[in-house]
């Protein structure tokens, strides 16, 4: 469905992605793990069209998207939940959600869509009229995911949803991600530093090191991989 082949992205002269190949199939949860500065967020921004790939192709259902503007990519059904949530902090929860529906026929199915989000994250419903900035980190993450869902995406790109969130809420958010994938048939491409959680959730996973994919396989395979255990998971030893 989403096919990334040989993508290279630069910041000025600095190369952040060195030929990345990743496939995301319809209905899958695919995780991408890697350390700080590996290029994970850059890859998501490149898919979203905020950063442009200098070389390589990105296709979505066979259509080339690497040179499109971000808003056109959202129109096609690829929506990103950016790193650090990026809630509109002075706007209320409901206004945030309405902005998610910005490209989606100007609120035609708004009422049913917003109800779905509130069913998924009931806490948001209690806080509709509260400002986004007053929510806790976990609630903000839920809001960011809900906001992205309002655009009715086919693929949801999640950038570090566990960042700076209480462990209890992380479990809840990962459960919701699974739910979104299974119940709403949204394909998930998840970028995470929390490798254990990301691999447990994933159907397939990739490891990104210095702008290159080094290891790929099913989530379970990677969890057992000694190198990955040593580098990204606790308790492993490299031999």
């Amino acid at each position: 469905m989403l096919k990334i082949s040989n993508v290279e992205t630069f910041y000025g002269k600095i190369q952040a992605l060195r030929g990345v190949d990743i496939d995301v199939n319809d209905g899958e949860i695919v995780s991408l793990i890697g350390s700080n500065g590996a290029g994970k967020s850059t890859l998501l921004m490149t898919i979203s069209g905020v950063n442009k790939a200098r070389n390589g192709n990105i296709t979505f259902n066979g259509e080339k998207i690497e040179n499109r503007d971000p808003h056109k990519i959202v129109d096609l059904g690829i929506c990103q939940v950016p790193e650090g949530r990026r809630i509109f902090s002075r706007l209320t929860v409901e206004e945030n959600l309405r902005l998610g529906a910005y490209t989606n026929e100007q609120g035609k199915h708004f009422e049913t869509d917003i109800k779905e989000v509130y069913d998924l994250f009931p806490v948001l419903s209690d806080r509709k009229t509260q400002r986004g900035g007053t929510l806790s980190g976990g609630e903000q993450q839920m809001l960011a995911i809900g906001r992205a869902l309002m655009s009715k995406p086919k693929v949801l790109l999640l950038d570090e949803p566990s960042l700076g969130i209480a462990p209890k809420l992380v479990n809840q958010i990962f459960a919701s991600i699974k739910n979104i994938n299974k119940e709403k048939n949204v394909t998930i491409f998840l970028v995470e530093q929390n490798a254990k959680k990301a691999l447990e959730l994933a159907d397939r996973a990739y490891v990104l090191v210095n702008g290159k994919v080094t290891i790929m396989g099913s989530g379970q395979e990677l969890l057992k991989n000694k190198d990955i255990q040593a580098a990204y998971l606790e308790g492993g030893t490299k031999n």
Partner: protein, 422 residues
């Protein structure tokens, strides 16, 4: 309050006094006077002493007030009470304000001078509301807003004097021209944000003024444009003696001729234009484009990830803000009947930005209060001539000390809970 704090704030006040001395010493203290053949310096140490003393005292009071905010909070309670009144009863406040504005010309104490000041305040309110779209909602700091005011005024003046069309045809045309210039400015500055955007818009304001001065063939340069037609009351001119076969306002309604008729008409004209600006802003905030402006102010990357096109969104904000500036400019031209580049200097932009910022970015009521406060204060101190600007600056400092986020800093949500009565 601790003794330490008092000593600390006293030291701080003395330091302020030192700065004041450094400033006022040469500026006020050394006065040049021409005696006979040469210039002589006459020192005025008494005045300097007084000013420095005032600065020390003022700083000390501010320090004490902020240190003792909990025990001694005259100013903060006063101001929070004030904002809670205005926020809770925003609607009543607005309706009372509009009603007062409607009957204002017929109140017994209203004379020509009051009307002129009221028209001026309303013009600034309209400009403030127009700029509020760009600065308050879209978060794009525009320091050259006067450019659109000028474009509106000159387009109106040129169209009206060249083609002789009526006010009601020229007004939308002038607005369109201004909106076009808004887009023209918008394109090069789309990539810029914050300080850089402010610098470029500042430059744009100056470019327009300098073009107006130098493009002599069209704008008549520094001499300006004279004989701009006055607006008529739906075809009835405000003239003492109408031309042959023509009805004028006072003969049509069988009134005694009075120059006040035209002033009152102008007053209602700007009142209506300003209210249209306000109504438009309040409505558009609830539409996707208005919400996208506010979202863009909060976070541009999040906007991109949600499919908001920042280019178009910024351009519409610039264009619509500019259009209202243009309308206000047309009104200015028709009221003055004479315009020249003199009227469109940077200080005008600065005043409008000050009104928006002091009012509390994005607050419509705040703009009204700030306009009344700032323009009113300069009018009250009109008799003191050169001290007017001190009063103006002082007013700004006072607002920033007691209400650092502006008079009304709270943003009103565009969507309210079902059953919420507001």
């Amino acid at each position: 309050m601790e003794k330490q704090d008092i000593i600390k704030s006293f030291k701080d006040s003395l330091f302020t006094g030192l700065i004041a001395l450094a400033l006022f010493g040469p500026i006020v203290g050394l006065r040049t006077a021409s005696k006979g053949e040469g210039l002589f310096i006459t020192p005025q140490w008494g005045v300097v002493f007084l000013l420095v003393g005032l600065c020390i005292l003022g700083r000390f009071l501010i320090n004490i007030n902020s240190a003792r905010r909990k025990e001694f909070k005259i100013f903060s309670t006063l101001s929070s009470k004030f904002s809670s009144i205005t926020e809770d009863k925003a609607k009543h406040f607005a309706i009372t304000g509009i009603l007062f504005a409607l009957v204002f010309p017929f109140l017994p104490f209203t004379d020509r001078y009051f009307m002129d000041v009221a028209i001026m305040i309303l013009t600034y309110i309209m400009l403030g509301w127009g700029l509020n779209i760009v600065v308050g909602l879209a978060g794009l700091l525009d320091l050259g807003y006067v450019a659109f005011y000028a474009v509106g005024a000159y387009s109106y003046a040129l169209i009206a004097t060249t083609f002789g069309w009526s006010f009601w045809i020229c007004l939308p045309l002038a607005g369109l021209f201004a909106a076009f210039f808004g887009i023209l400015l918008g394109f090069p500055v789309l990539r810029l944000r914050g300080d850089y955007l402010a610098i470029v818009t500042l430059g744009f304001g100056e470019i327009i003024r300098i073009i107006l001065i130098n493009w002599y063939e069209v704008t008549n340069g520094p001499d300006g444009i004279t004989g701009i037609p006055r607006p008529s009351f739906f075809g009835l001119p405000f003239k003492r003696s109408p031309d042959e076969g023509e009805m004028s306002f006072h003969t049509f309604f069988g009134l005694e001729y009075s120059t006040m008729h035209r002033i009152i008409f102008l007053y209602y004209l700007i009142l209506i234009l300003a209210l249209i600006t306000n109504y438009f802003t309040l409505k558009i905030r609830k539409l996707p484009v208005g919400r996208a402006w506010e979202a863009l102010r909060e976070d541009e990357i999040a906007c991109k990830s949600l499919g908001v096109n920042p280019t178009n969104t910024k351009l519409t904000a610039f264009a619509i803000g500019a259009m209202f500036g243009g309308f206000a400019g047309s009104f200015f031209a028709t009221r003055q009947a004479f315009i020249s580049p003199e009227s469109f200097t940077f200080i005008e932009s600065a005043i409008i930005v000050a009104i928006v910022v002091l009012g509390g970015m994005g607050s419509q009521t705040g703009v009204v209060l700030a306009s009344i406060f700032l323009i009113g204060i300069t009018e009250i101190f009109r008799d003191l001539e050169q001290y007017r600007m001190i009063a103006f600056g002082g007013a700004m400092v006072l607002i920033m000390v007691f209400k650092p986020k502006g008079i009304l800093a709270n943003r009103k949500p565009t969507i309210l809970m079902h059953g919420d009565k507001n």
